[in-house]
């Protein structure tokens, strides 16, 4: 037989009806009302972040010693602070800072943690043991102690707060990614890659890492809220942003001196943090349901 006939039973190709992750996400968000509404609020927040400085009713930095600590009114919807600055304007401008801290700290931690987690999980053995023990130690340290120490070492300022928060969110990312990697490493397609001769670096970058992305994204959204709160807690302990900046945590911490008689001062920044973190968490939760129903840690 000179010409072997190869069966090509391609009479009709059935498109299996699983669509891409993104379509699934949209569809499933339509079902998960909480996540959907959260997404709307997040979009609104992003708009505020982008356009904040142009939509404030007052100059957020302008002090007016004749109208300090005024309760909310039509003029000042969220009242004024101890220097007579308009609280609403400060909240609007501060969104950028607060979300900025949260996002950049978590991203930084995610990058570091992902690298560590991939290495730890993929190479195993002593590499894994060393990295995981270090993570254990970092875990065992009370977060804020770590942060206080970091800020003390690095000096005050937003940048260092970000580094500090990133630093202590790193081990949890490392753990999550390591866990995923361990599992993915055992999957058949990794073995298939090895059997076609792919190098370790290629396997990690091209095959393991893409599999962890959805988990990482979910974990990032869920951690941003935590990072915002950590930043606020650091501000509370006096270690946060520059005090005059309208970062929400800084506003909160300043306002505690007035809790007894200017409740709006602590209420509104608290509310802003609450809503932001809440929607981020709800969104992350929804995202997890879609992308990664089996996240554990």
């Amino acid at each position: 037989m000179s010409e072997t006939q190869i069966t090509t039973d391609q009479t009709q190709f059935v498109e299996t009806k699983q669509d891409s992750n993104f379509k699934r996400l949209l569809r499933s968000f339509k079902k998960n009302k909480l996540a959907l509404y959260s997404l709307y609020v997040i979009i609104l927040l992003l708009l505020i972040v982008i356009f904040g400085p142009w939509i404030t009713p007052y100059d957020p930095q302008e002090a007016n010693y004749d109208s300090i600590l005024e309760a909310p009114s039509w003029q000042h919807l969220a009242g004024t602070d101890e220097f007579g600055k308009d609280v609403l304007s400060r909240l609007i401008v501060g969104a950028r800072l607060s979300l900025g801290v949260g996002v950049s700290a978590v991203l930084l931690g995610a990058v570091a943690g992902t690298i560590l987690g991939l290495i730890s999980g993929f190479f195993g053995k002593w590499v894994d043991r060393v990295i995981m023990r270090i993570c254990d130690i970092l875990f065992a340290f009370p977060d804020l102690v770590l942060a206080i120490a970091m800020v003390a070492i690095l000096g005050p300022g937003m940048k260092n707060v970000i580094i500090a928060i990133a630093f202590f969110s790193t081990p949890s990312f490392a753990r999550i990614v390591r866990g995923e990697t361990l599992e993915i490493k055992e999957r058949l397609f990794i073995e298939a890659e090895r059997s076609i001769g792919a190098k370790k670096s290629r396997i990690i970058l091209r095959h393991v890492f893409p599999q962890t992305i959805s988990t990482i994204i979910v974990y990032i959204t869920m951690n941003i809220g935590g990072a915002i709160i950590s930043a606020a807690s650091l501000s509370f302990l006096g270690l946060g942003a520059s005090p005059s900046s309208p970062e929400w945590g800084a506003m909160l911490s300043a306002s505690r001196d007035y809790i007894g008689h200017a409740f709006h001062l602590i209420f509104f920044p608290g509310l802003a943090v609450f809503i932001t973190v809440l929607v981020l968490n709800l969104f992350g939760d929804g995202l997890r349901d879609v992308l990664d129903p089996k996240t554990r840690d």
Partner: protein
């Protein structure tokens, strides 16, 4: 089982040694000089030097570490630079309140968390689920100092139901444990929910249904036990954290726990105290994890240690 535990504990020794060294280096990296802080702003340099020598801080760092380790092996955790009280005593005074607070916080958080989680999972996608989710997530969406301050304002000042601080009576634990537990409750709710949702889709649940078991028996008798494994891990981890005290909540409620001791000691660079406390926390954390591992085996028959 016993052998396993002993093995694990022996395995801890090198880890703790490494930890002690890291902690030592770490806290000495933090700028600040205890002698200077103790001497006060109007002290002259000579007076500060004298104090530093007196405190033994003029010795090279490594020597200080070896001295510390030598004492540690003799069971001495050192003395506070500041009040000269033995660290064991300081720790002893704070441990019980912290432990009680931790147990209380974890306790109610687990109780409510699991309940909400079960409700959310069972009524998945309907309003009880939304209610459970929002309640839970609210718990981790407020900074706990904010929650604390607002609760003091409300329950201590306005209604005078609970004290604003101090732990003379059991009432003093209520507000702090609420502030501390809120976040944990949220976490437990979420993990219970997602784990239960997942478990409820497993084959063995269908088997149980096929045998005519009622929903309650299925959820509590079959599904929850499996889900508890995850929940337990989370709770254990959180308990480990809690034992180290919460700086923020303890500050807000003037609660005499580990967190405040730690932060006070850090502020004064009271090295022996900080060092020993951090070491103890690491040990506690590791032990709690060990206990969780063992309980894990109890709930998960596949991981029985022998």
């Amino acid at each position: 089982m016993g052998r396993y535990i002993i093995k694990r504990i022996i395995g801890l020794i090198p880890l703790l040694l490494a930890v002690s060294f890291l902690i030592f280096i770490f806290i000495h990296l933090i700028p600040g000089d205890p002698a200077r802080l103790m001497a006060g702003k109007d002290a002259t340099n000579d007076e500060v030097e004298a104090l530093r020598t007196y405190l033994g801080l003029d010795k090279p760092i490594l020597e200080q570490y070896f001295i510390y380790m030598k004492e540690l092996f003799q069971g001495d955790l050192g003395h506070s630079l500041r009040s000269n009280a033995p660290v064991t005593q300081l720790f002893g005074e704070r441990f019980l309140p912290s432990l009680q607070l931790s147990i209380l916080s974890i306790g109610w958080a687990m109780l409510i968390g699991i309940l909400l989680g079960v409700i959310s999972a069972v009524f998945r996608g309907r309003w009880p689920d939304y209610f459970g989710t929002i309640t839970a997530i609210s718990g981790i969406s407020v900074p706990n100092f904010w929650l604390g301050l607002v609760m003091i304002q409300l329950f201590a000042v306005q209604f005078n139901i609970f004290p604003a601080g101090g732990i003379e009576t059991w009432k003093g634990y209520v507000l702090p444990s609420f502030a501390l537990g809120a976040g944990i409750m949220a976490m437990i709710t979420r993990f219970t929910r997602s784990s239960l949702v997942q478990t409820l889709q497993e084959d063995f649940i269908r088997t149980a249904r096929s045998r005519g078991l009622g929903e309650r028996a299925i959820i509590f008798g079959h599904a929850l036990k499996k889900s508890m494994i995850t929940v337990l891990t989370i709770a254990g981890l959180q308990f480990g954290f809690l034992l180290g005290g919460s700086i923020v909540v303890e500050t807000v409620f003037s609660f005499p726990g580990m967190g405040r001791l730690l932060i006070d000691s850090i502020q004064f660079r009271d090295y022996p105290v900080v060092q020993s406390l951090l070491l103890i926390f690491s040990l506690e954390f590791i032990l709690v994890n060990l206990i969780v591992d063992i309980l894990y085996g109890f709930f998960n028959p596949k991981i029985r240690y022998n």
